[in-house]
Symmetry: C3
Subunit: 461 residues, 3 copies
């Protein structure tokens, strides 16, 4: 099934080894332990062991591990819904995430982690690297089944770089709030991926259409991914907020947003089906939109009440998107979005950005008290005004959309070069092209020897 044009024999090893060697060299030259991971720094002037609990590790490591599970199990298994693409879904997810988190450490460090020419790393940089990886995996969802692992690694190189630039503009220049990444992660990852898949449009993809669907067990594997993403989203949104009340509040707002989102997802999934049957695609994806949509405002005084409204809306637009918008995107705009990332990350990400801008514009010292400047850092300058803050949040969304679409366009054309071993139209959504695929079970194999109706006819005639 694998001929030389799609063989990974040399392409993949060469790319992986070159990339890893470059990473190792750059890490050797640039990366250093930060204050909380360095034995000399942390133990300077140590008098007793009493304040080890103040190490950043204890504030953030449990959240980091939850985020880590979302990246590797959540995204990986969510995409196993395809009937014969489970190895690739989990496996390529694994590969590009392992690469991206290393590359992101460098790119993000370069833009906002430099100390005297060195990149300082610790649990916070690990969370940020995982976050950046999340954006790449969102884009992966759009091109799932239609790209070789080499293409995916090349996409990751560019996307991680642009992610870091966009994040720098938003957080450092515009001073935007986006702890859970409605803009930096979800909107960016979605529109970047949609533009890439647009450029890589395959007019004859219908030749693989019979494999572009789920089977019973693959849908259950995908639910493993869904449920882990859903459960740990509160940790995702709160992972890099300030210590204390912001982390606590963000987790809780996300918890309620997701719960409300789940109810609207079930409601609209049944409503849009002629027989009133639930659709696994909706449950697997739209129920998560509530987490995306409070990614910016979650740390603010959104309140559980506000969170639930946002979550309910997010689930609704996401289901409606799967039902009515995705087919149009494909037929009219030639955007073949395998996982429907526009419905899970694109629209809910924009919703999240808008909710964030509005919530920020409504902020006041009366409501936040002394906690105001811990949420909106720049208050310290004394010139902070909620309205202008809201404006900067809105500008941030526009910048993100621009960066994502432009970056996806360029990256798409780079990925179109015929050198990466992309699958032919006839073998998309098929593990066998890049993986040694085992046979079926013993019992099943025997079945292959049973007579087909044709044989029976022949014999009896």
């Amino acid at each position: 099934m694998a001929d030389s044009s799609t063989s990974m024999r040399l392409r993949l090893p060469l790319l992986c080894i070159i990339l890893e060697v470059i990473l190792i060299i750059l890490f050797g030259a640039l990366v250093e332990y930060d204050h909380d991971t360095h034995p000399k720094e942390w133990n300077k002037n140590r008098t007793s062991s009493t304040n080890d609990y103040k190490n950043e590790f204890y504030y953030r490591y449990p959240s980091f591990q939850d985020v880590h599970v979302m990246i590797f199990v959540g995204f990986g298994f969510l995409m196993t819904f395809l009937q014969r693409y489970g190895f690739s879904s989990v496996g390529f997810n694994f590969l590009i995430a392992a690469f991206s988190l290393q590359w992101a450490t460098l790119m993000q460090g370069f833009f906002h982690g430099m100390h005297e020419g060195k990149i300082h790393v610790g649990v916070e940089s690990m969370i940020n690297a995982d976050f950046c990886t999340g954006a790449v995996l969102i884009s992966f969802g759009a091109v799932l089944g239609k790209t070789s692992p080499v293409q995916l690694l090349v996409m990751a190189i560019f996307e991680v770089t642009l992610f870091a630039v966009n994040e720098f503009i938003l957080l450092s220049i515009l001073g935007a709030n986006d702890a859970g990444g409605s803009m930096t992660i979800h909107t960016f990852g979605a529109y970047f991926g949609l533009m890439v898949t647009r450029v890589l449009y395959r007019p004859n993809l219908s030749k693989s259409q019979h494999r572009n669907s789920s089977v019973y067990h693959s849908d259950l594997f995908a639910m493993i991914g869904t449920i882990y993403l859903w459960m740990f989203w509160p940790s995702f949104n709160s992972a890099i907020t300030h210590h204390g009340d912001p982390q606590h509040r963000t987790a809780m707002n996300t918890y309620y947003s997701l719960a409300a989102c789940t109810l609207s997802t079930f409601a609209f999934s049944a409503l849009v089906n002629p027989e009133g049957k639930l659709d696994m695609v909706h449950i697997q994806n739209a129920a998560l939109a509530g987490g995306v949509a409070v990614g910016t405002a979650g740390e603010m005084m959104l309140t559980p009440f506000g969170s639930m409204i946002v979550g309910f809306l997010a689930g609704t637009i996401s289901v409606l998107g799967y039902k009515y918008l995705t087919p149009v995107l494909e037929s009219k705009l030639k955007i073949q979005d395998t996982c429907g990332i526009h419905n899970l990350h694109g629209m809910p990400g924009i919703l999240g950005a808008v909710v964030g801008a509005v919530t920020a514009a409504l902020a006041s010292p009366e409501v936040y008290g002394e906690g105001l400047q811990r949420v909106f850092g720049e208050v310290e300058t004394g010139q902070w005004k909620p309205e202008s803050k809201g404006g900067f949040q809105a500008i941030s969304l526009a910048v993100t959309l621009g960066m994502a679409l432009f970056g996806g366009l360029v990256t798409g054309f780079i990925l179109k070069l015929p050198i990466y071993g992309a699958p032919p139209d006839t073998h998309c959504f098929e593990d066998g092209l890049y993986w040694e695929v085992p046979g079926e079970e013993e019992g099943h194999n025997e079945l292959h020897e049973v007579a087909t109706p044709n044989e029976v006819e022949k014999l009896s005639s």
Copy 2:
């Protein structure tokens, strides 16, 4: 397969949307951030950032996430053991849990979280809401495969409400200890569910009997649920105990109880089988009984020694229950208990209540030192006596049983109304009634065209 009588087209969306709108309105009117999630409260008189580590978030959020995994992955996948009910098991579990945790926030807040007319929420209320949800999911296990999602939501409305009332009586009026919920969660959820399934008795359920069993892969999916429940049960039992030694001790007692329980489960599973073969039903369920049975006494001085004895007993009675009691319950008492919740939650829950009463009655300041009043709060009054404490624990069990049986009876009759689109006897344990179910894999589909022996006979004659 879905005719109008079971269609969810209007019923489910209508109920979901109405419930969520009510929830949102009540949250808007009643729910407020608590001290540790409110920026104004938490940062009042803030001098430095040094004591953010005292935020309740850092004491409890890791435990909360473990509990959250048990609720959504643990319960959800444990019930996927049925061959064609995986979508419903994980999906309906997801739906009713997402609803219940919101409703529980209100009901539990109403009974023991009111502050000047407002319900204060934070990580502790989130854990309690998840706990209450656990009881509903236990009851779900009894009626699994025989109820529509609308019925399940209606059941959740009533069960959550009664749970909160019972919890209030036990914890606030009787001053009982029940950190891990042997009584409030397991005993209550089990007997409530058993009574509901008794009222909903289906004499002709045998028409669906061929689907009321597992297949090879569904048993493996169920083991995902089992193992997660087993691993995180120490977090479950310790999640809302006092900070410090009680949380630490409870987790460890549960750890040893479960380990001992696993050995007795394997022992008796092989022993009761004529060929000495292990039964997946026992391993999936009875191995967890050790967690249930130390739910009350886990925070006390049960010691690892005592925990192991209790765990060993719990595994034993649970396996024997599956083997000898469940068939009798169905044939004599007309209780069709799909998951055998009587063996996993019912009997071990009662065992846990009794162990709790005895351990409390044996408590003394000599053993607990100054830690006594942190376990048994009312010591502060100075009139505390271990014997009377043991008595109140025993009374709590009786109250719980009464509330559960009465509540289940009433709820059962409400669920019997023919308006919820319940499945007919011929289509129980079948996803296809409420879900769009994909076909089998490409390869498998071809098999459907092979000739059956009948056809061969016809052809050759």
Copy 3:
């Protein structure tokens, strides 16, 4: 399928019950709560609740839970790759882990946890017990599919005991560092298991060869195990290091080692395949070698740079081992290593020991500052020299290899006695021998009635 020679009817219950009774008696006689779990000790001289956050529970419990997931889900599901051995893989893993952690508490407590004749237990001893269990599960990987549960329990009795002795020699006598267990866990578990499987060599194992391989879905279940092991390995290596910077640093070093290892695994998996296709066996196993290989040096100043080099090497030798060494081990040395533990734990474990010795030999007060003695405890004596430290690390590796090979030899001969109900050569890798195995799905069952080509021939002739 189960005749009396392999029946577990009496053997397994008898062994389980006797072992658990012995455990309970020994726990009753010897085990006590430690300072942080005992209400009297912890609350002695309590003035306010302000320092509960110093309880060991909050430093280590999240790490413990991650380790716990690795032991039960990680190891359990990793071994489900065989087509008809999923019940046994997860189930026996569950059984022997539940036994081993209890037995390890006693054995490890006996050697390095005694306080006035009592074994003190808390979250640290729980982590250590899980660690010891890990070694047993590694050995299980070598004999997977070829042993009865009774044999496995007997193996665990001996292996846990020897593990504790070896650990005592390394950590207490030689003063070695091995926080993540490159030597004590991985090297020991691997060579112990390899020697056991050598002694249990089955010349006619080819009779079961058709079941000694994976199917599509079993490979996906195995990936659940792989990904959980990969994600939580940072927690594993850092779980029992000192508070503060060592725990933080170890987790981060492991994170980068694993990421680099994943890239070399994909690279070499494609490279060694004639068609350039990826092999699931490599991805499932070799990608984890990076965690093993930084198990000793992870807490030292290995730096992310060094970690990535080590991880890259570990992935490389692991893939090459699967491809070229495993077949030779079987044909020349008669070592039938079902899971290839030599490639995942054996060689990477030795690599980790060597890297640890070198990194220790390079340690200096200039680099570690006041943190030096928190990593290399014996500095306190004032006579500490990095070169001799490196030497002791190297001696520790030699001791471990000796203990493992000798212990495995003796245990292998004990396991060879014909009294444990071991599977015959014709029924290895088969759940049906020890488990009630359900039929296939309804749809599939019907297929069993289709005519085979033979029947068709008969009929038509």
